[in-house]
């Protein structure tokens, strides 16, 4: 992919990923967030964050499908940081609009409610990833350590899905599509790795 296309595509990703936020702000200003604005803000920010998490996890398996897709990695950090941004707004929505920034309420929520516990856990798992997203951090930590630290994203994917399922009512299956996508993305990794090893062995045998 040449530089012009890359810049163009990055601009499109920025616009696309910020659209949910801009729409929220626009609707908040117009007082058209629907009957339950608080729930709408929580839902839009949460869903955007969790789907962006899926998008970051899609980068590696897609690259493994074809060497021609290797440029995708240039979008991973951007997608991850946008995910973190939405997760932050989502957390603020809970702490502000639900708990009224009351430390007691926030603490009680985390202590008593497993879906909130899981949500906070997810946020704390992605927080160090966002904090070490700079090139400087990668150099400072060293590629190996940095990679190891960023394996936390797999755990975050699991806690995020648990958070979503525990949020909806028993019997409601709306988190199913996201769960399926994340399951495929997580399972794709060992399968693709095994495939790579098999190919490597085959080529080694030929030599």
């Amino acid at each position: 992919m040449n530089r012009t296309n890359l810049v163009l595509l990055k601009t499109l990703v920025w616009i696309g990923c910020l659209t949910p936020l801009l729409l929220l702000v626009w609707r908040a200003v117009n007082n058209s967030l629907g009957p339950d604005p608080t729930a709408e803000i929580a839902s839009v920010t949460g869903l955007t964050a969790i789907w962006l998490l899926a998008a970051t996890l899609a980068v590696s398996p897609l690259r493994a499908l074809s060497p021609r897709l290797s440029w995708l990695v240039k979008f991973r950090r951007l997608l991850g940081l946008l995910m973190f941004f939405y997760a932050s707004v989502h957390m603020l929505t809970w702490m502000g609009l639900y708990a009224g920034f009351d430390p007691g309420t926030i603490e009680a929520d985390i202590e008593k409610r497993r879906f909130i516990f899981m949500g906070v856990a997810t946020y704390l798992l992605v927080l160090p990833l966002a904090a070490t997203s700079t090139t400087w951090s990668i150099r400072k930590l060293g590629g190996k350590n940095w990679n190891r630290l960023h394996m936390l994203i797999y755990l975050a994917a699991l806690t995020a899905v648990a958070h979503y399922w525990w949020k909806v009512k028993t019997g409601v299956i709306t988190p199913a599509p996201l769960t399926l996508v994340l399951a495929i993305l997580l399972c794709a990794r060992p399968i693709l790795a095994w495939n790579r090893r098999r190919k490597a062995r085959a080529s080694a045998a030929r030599v």
Binding site: G34, P35, D36, T38, L97, F115, G171, V172, I173, T174
Partner: protein
Amino acid sequence: MLLGKPSDISSSEITPRDDYFRYLSRRRFLKGMAATGAAALGADRLAQFAVPQAVHAETRLQTVKSPLTTTGEQLTSYYDITHYNNFYEFGVDKSDPAKNAGGLPTRPWTVKVEGKVAKPLTFDIDDLLKLRPLEDRVYRHRCVEAWSMVIPWVGYSLSEFIKQCNPLPSAKYVQFLSYFNPKVEKWSYEDATIYWPYSEGLRMDEAMNPLTLLTFGLYGETLPNQDGAPVRIVLPWKYGFKSAKSIVKVRFLSKQPRTTWNDQAPNEYGFYANVNPNVDHPRWSQKTERRIGQPFYAQRRTTLMFNGYSDQVAYLYKGMDLRRDF
């Protein structure tokens, strides 16, 4: 006092101006009635009615005032009451029922009465509408999900209907079963794994409490399908899921019936489900609620014990441990 003396103004007159305007403009838009001067109040409000929504075909009902109406609350708009619904047979999204409930066949409609009664009966909906004068009753409505509305319902006390059913002394509970037809309600199995038909129930003394409303309408008109047409129960001091919609069967029983959400998750939805700020839902606090239709920074308000109807209903639960029997 949350419930006042008999109010001598009709529900339309206590509707806040902008909501009343929506109410009027909707009527004008659909029925060609002129609401003089109303356009000056905010033409932007008309925009939402200019977009074709579900076809509005509700009939005006003859109503009388009621001493049991709630005063001093701003009514939730007709639009929000009819576009923010939990009616899982028509989809799990709050906006789904307004889109999907159009196919609910509300005529002909009968309500079967069976169980511990002198003899089983079948009531036609049109006879039920004429059984007693229909009253305008504004009630606060509190969902277990911690949101709330204020709704001007139309109906009469369920006790009036129960008297017609001649329940036997052995009848200790009453169960309500909702309409269920997966051909009409094809969303019922799409988004959820729930055992249908929807079932709810009350203890006999709760059912006989005058606040328990057999409900046929809202805002002075017959119920839109998504709000439980043609007949539903409304229990203002209990979480919304207790108020069964689109009722086709009423059973009088000697034992506590199985109820849908209690079956789904007994730790989250109790049989009594009285609004109680002191008993949290396992997944959220019930101390506060979000009033529907307010801006996001002004939604939060304190939840009242029995949703503010303690004076009328607290006696029903004397001596009970409401933490255990939540």
